[in-house]
Structures are given as C-alpha cells and as structure tokens.
Amino acid sequence: MSSMTRRNFVATLGAAGALALAGCGGSEQPAENTTDQTTDDQTTDQTPEEASYTLVKEGVLTNVAELGFSPFEYIDEDGNTVGFDVDLSNAIAEKMGLTCEWLPNQAFDTLVPTIKQGGKADISIAGVTITDERLEDVDFSDPYLNSNQALIVAASSSYATDDLDTEEIQIACQTGTTGDAWIQENLPNATRVPLADVTAGMMGVSTGSYQAMVIDLPVAQNMLAQSFSDLKVLEEIPTGEQYGIAVSYDNPGLKDAINDALAQIEEDGTMDELKQKWFGTTEI
C-alpha cells in the first residue's frame, strides 16, 4: 500500500516537472495534456532504445553554452534564451521525446571540458566547430551548419589584413574559439587579446582599445547589423568550418540518437525553416 502511494507521489512529481518544463519550448502551451501523453507513449515504445543513452536529468536534454553568441544562442530583451541553436535543440529534443533545458551561461572555453567531465550537461550546442583537437576530448554529432570566420575592424579604419601582423596591433577574439586559433597561426606577430564574450571584443574595437577582432562570420554579420554599425568586416576568411553538437564519448547512444534526430530535421524541412528564420536564407 505504501509503495502505491509512493509511486503515485513520484508520478505526480513527474507530471508537475513536465508541466514546468513545457515552458522551455516556448509557446506550445495549448497541447499540454497531449504532449504529456505522447512523451509517455514514446518512452514506453522506446523501451529497448531507452537504455542506450543516459541523461543528466531524466527526460531532459541538458544543454550548456556561452549565451552571448547571437544569432546562435543569446538572451533576448525578455531574458529568454533564444537563437538558431536553441530552436534546433528544441527540435532535436522533440524528436527524441524529451524537453530541453539550458544551463546558465558559461565561458566558451569551458564547454568542451564540461562535456568531457560529464555530470552537468548532456550536450553542448553552441556554435562549436568540429576540430581534430576537440575530437580528442569529446565526440561530435554530424555537422549541422557550415561557417566561416570574419576579420572585423572599425569602419573608419584603412587597414589591410597584412597591416595587422605587427605587435602594436591588438586583435580581440573569444577565448578558445577557432578565431583565436586563426590569429595565432595567421597573424602570429599581432598581440592577441582573448576575451570571455564577443560583445566586449566588438565594444573594444568600436572604442579603439583593440584594432581588430576575429569571430565567426554569421555572428559578425548579425552583430554588426544589430548593434555595431561603426564596424565593418574587413575580410571574410574562408575556413569552411562546421558546427557540431558536442557529446561525451561515454555516451555513444546519445550521439546516435541526436544524429537520427538531426537527419529527420534535415529531411522534414525543419532545418531549412530554422535557417530561413534566423539567417533569412537557406543557403548557409
């Protein structure tokens, strides 16, 4: 008898939790009951598959990211975490019969160690480029987006890229990004200034503290259009890098499940929809 009540209690808790988490998806409130049921159905359907991966929190895909990387993930005026990656991970979670949650903002260079360490987050979907160095620490899903780098300078400046390769020039970047590595390799004489967030770097270039900044091209284009009209993209650096979703090597089932979900999202046109929504084009 006592076990019955306990089970009831757990079930109620679970339902309450699911209700609370439904908010994460945004505006899908009307379907509360039905979503609950489908989640239940799917979990029962997928019993053999269920054991194939573990999650930090039951029924929740926990995400970790640096939340100052618009339009991929950022915090809007109302304090909500929004962006292309956010919509994408919601879509992935939906395909997997889960809800998704975001951990508080974390510096970009700590994301890969966090996933490697495990225990805090399941995945990092944060505009993380798949590189062989990172692959030594964490596994990646199939690439979901192509990207390039951008070299940003003040709109009024008259630098050419080669002018920047001297010690007096300070070039900002976000710590641990591929842009950071690009400066080290391609402008080795310049003074590299790794910063925690992109806005600080752009602000610095705009005020003249730094002469340039290297950051992912989509982010540069977005932020220049939104808030830094006094900056310009001096050079679009063709790197052809690809973003992937970082997953721990200890959780191979999760990677497979995410890849399945990604394939479905590509196939049913959700991906193109999201690209259209956030970049205004599907050609990216």
């Binding site: 160690p113 360490q117 900002a172 063709p238 052809g240």
Partner: protein
C-alpha cells in the same frame, strides 16, 4: 646586425628567383600554394617546436581549367606524419563543398587522394593534426606535388615555417610523459584533470610572467591607494560638512559597487572619451582607486580608535591639530592598522584576477589560455599555487603582527616571568590563608 639582415634578404631574394626560374618552364600551375602555417605547440608560448605534435595547415587554389585528384605534401627530412589525422576542406568562395578523401603518410610526406576531384576555382585546405616537424627545428618549407588529369606536377614551395628545437622545459614534460607513475596518476580522472604533472610543470614556467604582472600591478597601485585612502580618511573626519560629504560619497560608491563593474567602466568608458591609457597602467589606476576606498575606512577607524586622552595630552603640550595628527595620532594608527591593511593588500592582489576579463595579460589570463589549449583544469590549480605563494606568507605576517599588538595592548611587552610567579604564589598563599581563616 644590419649587414647580416641585408645579406639574408639578398639570399632570400636569390632563393625566390631560383624558385621562379624553376617554376617558369613548367606549364601553368593548376594548383598554386597559398600558404602553409603551423599551430604553435609551445605550452604557454607561441613557438612551433619540432619533434612534438602540432597541426600543419596548407592552403592552395585550384586554377581554371583543372581538377586536382591528389596532393602530396613533403616536409624536410625528420618530419613525420605518422598517426596524424587529416581534415579536408574545399571551398568555393565561402561555400563549403563536399570533398572527402584519404590521407596516406609515408615518412616526411603525406599523400591525400580525393574521392571526388577538387573542381577548378576552389580553395583547398588540408589540416593535418598530430604531425611533427624535425626535432632539431629550423625553417621548414612545404613542397610536394599534385595530380591533375592523370599527370603529376610539382607544387610551388610554401613560405618557410619557423620551427624551433625542443626546449629544456619541454624535455622534462616529455620525460614525465614516459613515466609509468605519471600515467597511473593521470588515469585517475580527478587527479588527471586537476593536477596533471606535465601541465603543472609547463604552467609554472608559462604563468610566471602573469604572476609578476599581478604583483607589479598591486605593488605599484598600493602606495597610491594608501595616500588616497589617508586623504579620504582625513576628509571623512573633517570638521567641514562638504568635505565629509565628498569622502562619504567616494567611499560608499566604491565600496558599494563590484570591482568588476569599476573595471568595465574604466576600460570601456575611458576610450569612449578618447582617453587611451595603456592597459596595465589603467589596471594599476583601477586597483589603486578601489583599494583606496577600503583603506580610507580602515584608516578612519584606526584614527578614531586612538583614545581621546592622546589629543588632550598633545594639546596640553601646546601642539596644534596638524602637529597632533602627524606626530601623535597617525604613528599610533599605523601600528594598529597594519594587520587590516595587509589583509586588504591580500584581497587587492587576488582581485587583480578580474583584470583578465578586459585583456590584461595577468595570471588568470595566462592560465585561462593554457586551460583552453589543454582542455585541462591544472593551469588554474597552478595559478592558485602562485597566488598562495604571495598570500600565505602575508597571512602569517598578519597573524604575528596581530599577536604582537594584542600583547602590547594587554600591558606592554613581555613580562618578567619570575615576578609573575611570585605574584601567583602570593595569591595562592592569600587563598590558603583565607581558607584557614574559615
């Protein structure tokens, strides 16, 4: 020196013309070398060390009318591509194309054959991770060949990549790499993540400049902080209301807002007013201003803790206020505030870490960079040890000084032991007598 450089330039020019002379008779290049670079692999430095894993990036453009089916890159003898992984990227403008292929290393060269020919007009990038340059270092030119339409052509030489021979520090690390106990230690996830011996060694050497800068900033800032603090302490106990108000506002605003915010305001605000100050100097200024507010309160409390009798005694000797302050009150205050000021110094020293967020190359910045490169927490632990090197002795000093002050406040210096014994005995005897009387 000038001559030498000149000679080098001439030699370089000659070498270049040589290359062009060789290249000229050949049919038009279908694959032109754009650049070849290597990722710095010196821990905490920016050198490319030979004999250690690094990444070679080679870029070339496929010219019009040609397609490339395979590329072979060759490095000087002693380089190795064994155990490397190759990432192939082909781009048309900024658009990525699907090109896959397979890399086959053989000694100092590597051949990448593509499953689909790389079309004309595209930029081809090969990123070869975990390859090694010759361990003796030197200038490494990437040469090689490519295959196009079944024919093999020579690749133009790249600009040389500067590499250096192994450093003593790196040798220690390499030695550690081979030790079985190190391997056992690192296989424990916690120890390997937080206290990896190899990284501790490299962290200590590469964090040192950051540590010096931290110390430099706080040591340079502190005299100014003390002077400013004293000034505002005097203002706060001044007779005039306006001066008191100024001091109260200054102290309360600075103590009531986070240092982080003050740093941001100074580092991003001043340049907007076209005031451009060197980052390190600005760091010193921010630290001095912030500390001065805390010191002002410490001094104020110190001054007010001096008994009123001291002022009265001084005025009975005919001293005026300034004389009293500087010859009677402040000297006594100094002794009383030394422990608190030292504690504040410790806090200020630790707070320099916040300057890393605005690009001052101090201890945290260096360790953050190292953590990024290594994906390991050990550099932070090493930074912690660096902070402790300064703070632990200071904490000890605070303890000793406090003890001394407490003792002197109790009744001035060490007591003669015997007399204390005598007194105790006398007391005991008194008690006995009293007991007897009962």
């Amino acid at each position: 020196m000038q001559h030498k450089r000149g000679a080098l330039l001439v030699a370089l020019a000659l070498a270049l013309t040589g290359v062009f002379a060789l290249a000229a008779p050949q049919p038009a290049q279908a694959l032109t070398t754009e650049k070849a670079t290597a990722r710095p692999n010196e821990d905490g430095g920016d050198g490319v060390i030979g004999g250690m894993d690094t990444r070679l990036t080679w870029e070339g453009t496929v010219e019009g009318g040609e397609e490339v089916t395979s590329v072979t890159l060759t490095l000087p003898e002693g380089s190795t591509f064994d155990g490397s992984t190759t990432r192939i990227t082909a781009l048309e403008g900024l658009k990525r194309m699907d090109v896959t292929g397979e890399a086959t290393p053989s000694g100092p060269s590597i051949t990448v054959s593509f499953d689909q020919p790389v079309p004309e007009g595209s930029l081809l990038r090969l990123e070869i991770t975990n390859m090694q340059f010759p361990s003796e270092g030197g200038e490494c030119v990437v040469s090689g060949s490519y295959e196009s339409a079944g024919q093999t052509h020579e690749l133009a030489d790249s600009k040389p990549i500067e590499t250096i021979a192994n450093t003593p520090l790196q040798s220690i690390v390499n030695w550690l790499d081979e030790q079985p106990w190190v391997e056992a230690w690192n296989s424990n996830q916690f120890l390997g993540m937080f206290l990896k011996p190899q990284l501790l060694v490299t962290s200590f050497s590469s964090l040192a400049p950051g540590w010096i800068l931290c110390l430099g900033i706080v040591v340079a800032a502190y005299p100014f902080a003390i002077a400013l603090g004293l000034l505002f302490a005097m203002l706060k106990i001044s007779k005039w209301r306006i001066l008191r108000a100024i001091a109260v506002i200054y102290i309360n605003v600075l103590r009531g807002t986070p240092l982080f915010l003050q740093i941001y305001i100074m580092f991003f605000g001043l340049p907007m007013l076209n005031i451009n100050i060197d980052n390190n100097l600005l760091g010193i200024i921010v630290m001095a201003i912030n500390s001065s507010a805390y010191l002002a309160e410490i001094f104020r409390a110190g001054i007010q803790s001096i008994p009123q009798g001291q002022y009265e005694a001084a005025s009975s000797l005919g001293m005026n206020y300034v004389q009293t302050m500087f010859t009677i009150i402040l000297p006594q205050t100094v002794r009383r505030v030394i422990p608190t000021v030292t504690s504040d110094f410790i806090t200020a020293f630790k707070d320099t870490s916040l300057l890393s967020s605005v690009g001052v190359m101090e201890l945290m910045m260096f360790s953050k960079n190292l953590t990024t490169v290594s994906g390991n927490i050990t550099p932070y632990v090493a930074a912690g040890i660096f902070y402790l090197i300064v703070t632990l002795p200071l904490i000890k000093v605070v303890g000793i000084v406090e003890e001394n002050i407490a003792r002197s406040e109790r009744g001035g210096g060490p007591r003669p032991k015997r007399r204390a014994d005598v007194a105790d005995n006398a007391a005991a005897q008194m008690k006995e007598v009293a007991a007897d009387a009962c």
